[in-house]
């Protein structure tokens, strides 16, 4: 059986290889299309909350009363918890109110070019 198989696998003749065909020349690159301008963002929704701030943490004079109220509330909470010593509470609360107040300007002034 093995002998028969060997006979079947005999190579008869090596055929001639095909001739190499011509390499096609490359086609010219067509014009690169111009980069189109991005369309404008139609509208960015305003941020809600403390008077609708535009940038992170941005505050204006119109929010003064609300901000001062938050300072009073938070100072009271922190003092009650013992985070701010009672001996410091008045000074600390007043200092934070001053530092915030000194940064508040009218939002109309901010918007003007």
């Amino acid at each position: 059986m093995g002998r028969k198989d060997d006979k079947d696998k005999k190579i008869d003749k090596i055929g001639a290889s095909d001739a190499t065909k011509r390499v096609k020349s490359t086609e010219a690159v067509s014009d690169v299309e111009k980069v189109k301008g991005a369309s404008a963002v139609s509208r960015v929704a305003g941020v809600s909350g403390v008077g609708g701030t535009q940038a992170l943490g941005k505050i204006s004079l119109e929010q003064r009363e609300k901000l001062m109220g938050i300072v009073t509330e938070e100072a009271a909470k922190l003092a009650a918890q013992g985070v701010i010593p009672n001996s410091q509470r008045e000074i600390v609360e007043q200092a934070v109110k001053m530092v915030i107040d000194a940064t508040l300007i009218e939002s109309s002034e901010e918007k003007k070019r």
């Binding site: 809600s48 505050i59 010593p85 001996s87 008045e90 600390v92 940064t103 300007i105």
Partner: protein
């Protein structure tokens, strides 16, 4: 518009003058805000002149090619000059003598807070990341300001010799800070004792500003929790961005400035 810019970067004199005219009212409102907060007269105490000088200075140095709007570029400088003028004014020392000791301390403390939270000069609360709600961001930033002010007040009192009834409060606060990792102690010390802003600490440590800001927020929360419960809370982990500094401090045997204070006063 005016003549073309002389060096291609800065504005021509005419363009700079136009900026001054356009931003005159806005500059005055910054000076008025500083005067209002500290109960001064913005004209009599010379805040108007100082603010205008800063505006002119900024208009001459403004480089529009950097893409920063003029207001964003100049506001901090104008505010800084206005507060400096306020502190040097006659009104400051006059009202200092008329006011109560607590009010005087509050004023000095507020002036020092600008060093710790310079974003305030830009008209912004110290909010590094939005939670999605402006109200809770404002509340959290104000809490941070209050605890920060308390730390600065502690530093001032320790430096000036605290009153006997205040001594226990300050010792408690320093004790809570001394429990922290040396790198966290150093962060608090640099900000509240040395008066270096968080951004400048980040620059000094060659790390991203957000790394330091986020870590600071975590430390404030730790202080709040520890002081409220009367014992140190679970220690915050050091974020990966600050790990190289931890190694450096450990190799130099640094145990943290507040630990050193406690050891030296024990």
């Amino acid at each position: 518009m005016g003549k073309p810019a002389s060096d291609g970067k800065h504005l021509s004199e005419e363009e700079a003058n136009n900026l001054v005219v356009e931003h005159h009212g806005w500059t005055e409102s910054i000076a008025r805000a500083v005067a209002r907060a500290w109960n001064l007269d913005w004209r009599l105490d010379g805040l108007d002149g100082a603010a205008m000088e800063a505006l002119i200075f900024c208009s001459r140095r403004f480089d529009p090619s950097r893409g920063i709007p003029f207001k964003g570029y100049s506001r901090r400088r104008i505010h800084e000059v206005s507060t400096e003028a306020a502190r040097k004014s006659k009104g400051w020392s006059r009202s200092m003598s008329n006011k109560t000791a607590a009010e005087n301390k509050a004023r000095e403390l507020s002036a020092e807070l600008y060093g710790v939270f310079p974003d305030l000069r830009d008209g912004r609360l110290p909010v590094s990341e939005s939670s999605g709600s402006d109200d809770s961001d404002a509340r959290s930033a104000i809490r941070e300001l209050l605890i920060g002010a308390s730390l600065v007040a502690t530093k001032q009192a320790v430096a000036n010799g605290p009153l006997p009834d205040e001594l226990m409060d300050y010792k408690r606060m320093v004790g809570v800070m001394a429990c922290l990792e040396p790198v966290h102690q150093l962060l608090l010390y640099k900000v509240y004792w040395d008066g270096i802003s968080l951004r400048n600490v980040a620059t000094e440590w060659e790390t991203d500003g957000l790394n330091v800001m986020r870590e600071h927020k975590v430390l404030i929360a730790y202080l709040q929790k520890s002081l409220a419960q009367g014992k140190p809370a679970a220690l915050p982990k050091v974020r990966p961005g600050l790990k190289p500094l931890v190694t450096k401090l450990k190799s130099s045997g640094n145990k943290g400035p507040f630990t050193d204070v406690l050891v030296s006063t024990a």
